[in-house]
Amino acid sequence: MNLRTIFAISLFLIAQFIFAQKYTISGYVEDASSGEKLLGCNIFDPEKLIGTVTNNYGFYSITLPAGEYNMQCSFIGYKSIPFKIELRNDTVINLSMVQTNLLKEVEISASKLYSKVEESQMSIERIPIKTIKAMPLLLGETDIIKAIQLLPGVQSGMEGSSGLYVRGGGPDQNLILLDGVPVYNVNHLFGFFSVFNPDAINNVTLIKGGFPARYGGRLSAVLDIRMKEGNVKEFKGEGSIGLIASKLTLEGPIIKDKTSFIVSGRRTYIDFLSQPLIRYAAKREGVEKFKAGYYFYDLTGKINHKFSDKSRMYLSAYMGNDKVYLNMTEKDNLSIYDAEMGLRWGNITTALRWNYILSNKLFSNTTATYSRYKFVTGAGFGEESLTDNSNINFSYEYFSGIDDWSIKNDFDYLPNPNHAIKFGIADIYHTFKPGINVFNTSTGGFSLDTTYGNKNIYANEIALYAEDDMKIGSRLKVNAGLHYSGFYVNRKYYNSLQPRLSGSFLLTENLSVKAALSRMTQYIHLLTNTSIGLPTDLWLPVTDTIKPMQSMQYAVGMVYGIKEDYNISIEGFYKTMSNLIEYKEGASFFSSRSDWETNVEMGNGWAYGAEFLIEKKKGDLTGWIGYTLSWSERRFANISFGEKFPYRYDRRHDVGIVLLYKINDHIDAGLTWVYGTGNAVTLALEKYASLLSVSEYYYEQNIEYYEKRNSFRMKPYHRMDVGINFYKKMVWGERKLSIGLYNAYNRKNPFFMMFEERNGETKLMQYSLFPIIPFLSYNFSF
């Protein structure tokens, strides 16, 4: 190689270096009026077709070759911000977006570039909070979970329930995160309402398959709910007065543009309203004192402080409780009797989070969390003799629950527009409390005070992950990752390496095909045999004999975008699940928990089906139509003699329709309609003589014949809800009056069935829960 050649090559390399010099644009995107960070906001150049999306904390970063760019920032319900940049060095640009007028907030203004058609992720749904708030309500209470139940691939379980059954999985297989903290029981009022107060929520994302590697620990779904941060600009409030509950949310700056707070509370008042009636009824029955009722409340709070442009800290907390109580006193000439009973259950979650921008390409988020679910029930009885002053007292209490402490560190590394790398590590310390009984009695000279039950079980769960959202060429996008998890309990260590892969290929500008596979492992089980959201459900870890649940899900799909108005998507999925648990035949939910392992069976399950969704996101009429055709089955060696049987929430057809129509600037109307194949239940339809009938030692006995578990179908479920919202500007702010009907055509949907004796005849009766129920809700904001 001669000197001239070396010189030529050197010159070429230097030129490459100079011309390929890259710089980074980074910053936060926030709401101009509140300072609230905007998650999933698009920052892109529509001409060069390059761009990025803000992460869960509103941060974005994009590294591009030096040059001139016409960028645009767009987000659902906000006016797009075009900005021109001459990129010659690393630049920080924080963007403040202005909302379109309130009645247009359900519209979307995202560009086609980062629409559902293009993103690598599949099986993901995002419902704007404003859409959820515009939908018709059960008893006037906006409910995030009930809105999600209307999406394809998601079933609700029983009438009115807040359960989520995603792609054939159970409610215990959903990772429900509130600001990154797992929430174990999301039910208020036995499942009729969820614990999330929408006024304090900023963003809701549901992932049904193709899970990114950053999520783990559950088999079937991730519901990632992010709380608002609090208005850093000015003091604001909103609230509502409904038929059964009222709520109030206040937010504002503590130090303007630096520190903000949000606090939100909700409480029901059925107990206050019903108390006079209950007392009146008790008096008529001759009961001296009688007090009974039910209420739930929840409180949500968050403080957000900005130390610098690079460093922010958030402290968020949630506390919610349900309580059922009954106290009564009776008196006669001989004695005074006291009796009381109660049930109380609730969650506490807390998260302390620190965001730090290590460099303009590397974002870190360190989180410490605490989550607790506790269930307490108790009863007591006392009798005092008026003749000899003797006493008899008896009391019983039962406690169970789960406590989690966790710490995790997540990083977002954005080296160039073709790669968005996430990696992190997490550790969760679980304390399972499988049930402590406290029994106390005293009578005459005898007294007993004893505590017995299961010892706490301590376990440690770790997770490591790395994923890269890659753009390969102009048409292919892939999200590839690995999630490793380990679980240490009772001197045994389980671990699992879970590959995750999803991708999309752009066939045309508006049409993409997608595919995904994901392996998931779950180390905790929910011991339950009912679906009405009983708070007694018990979370328990894997043991020597009860192995971790595992699933493998494959999905393929297609998304077609029509202009910017419509998205049409179709997805097919196939999911296998192993090491699922079910109660053994004959085992009772209320039997002793001390030997719970011997009361359950392990088996396998599989679910497959297709989901179809049409969404309309712009214009006066918005909403979606979703349809799911699916099968979900189980096989356990010792249930139904090893034959496969349908899962209780195997639902062949499931339809969800949501239509929201803006009539004018002051009125909009909503309609939802749901249809689902009837739930599968175990019901005997025939009976026959037992073998004991041939023995002289035994009485004749008939055996009821169950074809197999869940072989009987209840009648289909369908229901229409309608509502209308009236908006009005007031001197002090704005009010919204919502009226409507739940179950508008009064469908008697099956809740449960049982055989009963009526006029000497045995009949199968179907009980329905909610008839047509009008609702009225007054909402205000200032």
């Binding site: 109660y583 009772s588 025939e686 073998l691 009821e704 014949y705 169950y706 005849e761």
Partner: protein, 308 residues
């Protein structure tokens, strides 16, 4: 009031707007119900009746009195059973260790077929005893008891799954009443029996005991340990008879599922239990067992403690 009842009452009280709707069940064709258990030494008895719709009254039973019942042994028809009363059909043969089949025809109903095999008896070759203090964990305390520990030597046939029921009875010799047999309840620290405490069932003949399989000791000689508490003994002469019933798979599954069915029948929150049946085109059970026994004899003198 248990928790389930409390929750249900609260739920229904809160949501009194429930409605009741009658549901018409499909008419189901009646099926032949065949019940028969074979044991060596006892006559073969087959009971035939008709199934009922779930909404029909339990009684009276609909016995089949005009059925044609053919009994085959090892593939050869050997007998046509004759009707006695109440749907009972009797054979002139006594069962042996063999494969038996039954075919039943009855006008208007589908023919049913079933088969079963009587297993060979497995003997208790020896019994060793010792006086021991036993312990059983109950909630947060340990129950302590004085017992006679009995080690029963069993040689399990290899290369097959065997099913057993062990019953114990005290053969009491009374000068006034003569000889009578008292069933004896036993405990067991043995892993073969301790793993499932819900396995105590009765055979249709009165013998009561624990069901177990040879899962742990398949094809080996095993010493099964049981504890008989002292209150099972009588002052003076005692003869404890240990009966090892070798069940076939059908009988084992039937007894186990029937016991669970009975336990769960009235539990509102229990998972329903499907009782095992091996009748093609019908319901019921055709099964068999054989029995071997061994005994120990001793004199017992009460030492004046809390228990005899």
């Amino acid at each position: 009031m248990n928790r389930s009842a409390v929750i249900i009452i609260i739920l229904l009280a809160l949501w009194g707007c429930r409605k009741e709707v009658n549901i018409d069940l499909d008419d189901r064709d009646k099926k032949i119900v065949l019940n028969s258990i074979l044991s060596q030494g006892d006559p073969i008895l087959v009971n035939l009746s008709l199934s009922k719709g779930i909404l029909e009254d339990d009684y009276p039973m609909d016995y089949i009195e005009n059925g044609l019942v053919i009994l085959s042994k090892n593939g050869v028809a050997i007998d046509t059973l004759s009707h006695d009363s109440n749907g009972n059909y009797i054979s002139k043969f006594q069962p042996e260790t063999a494969i038996y089949e039954i075919d039943v025809w009855s006008p208007q109903y589908n023919k049913v077929h079933t088969s079963t095999e009587i297993p060979s008896p497995v003997s208790i070759s020896s019994i060793d005893t010792a006086s021991v203090t036993g312990y059983e964990q109950r909630f947060d305390f340990t129950y302590e008891y004085q017992a006679l520990e009995c080690r029963l030597k069993i040689t399990d046939p290899p290369n097959e799954t065997n099913f057993y029921l062990l019953s114990v009875e005290n053969e009491v010799h009374d000068s006034l009443s003569g000889i009578f047999k008292l069933p004896v309840y036993y405990r067991s620290p043995d892993p073969v029996l301790a793993s499932d405490k819900n396995n105590y069932v009765s055979l249709p003949g009165g013998d009561y005991g624990a069901l177990f399989t040879d899962e742990i000791f398949n094809g080996t000689t095993y010493r099964l340990v049981i504890h008989v508490e002292r209150y099972a003994f009588m002052e003076g002469y005692n003869k404890m008879v240990f009966k090892l019933h070798s069940l076939n798979r059908e009988l084992f599954l039937y007894l186990k599922s029937l016991e669970l069915y009975n336990q769960s029948k009235f539990g509102a929150f229990s998972e329903p239990v499907q009782v095992y049946s091996n009748i093609e085109n019908g319901f019921g059970i055709f099964c068999g067992y054989s029995t071997s026994s061994n005994s120990i004899e001793f004199d017992y003198t009460w030492d004046g403690g809390m228990y005899p």
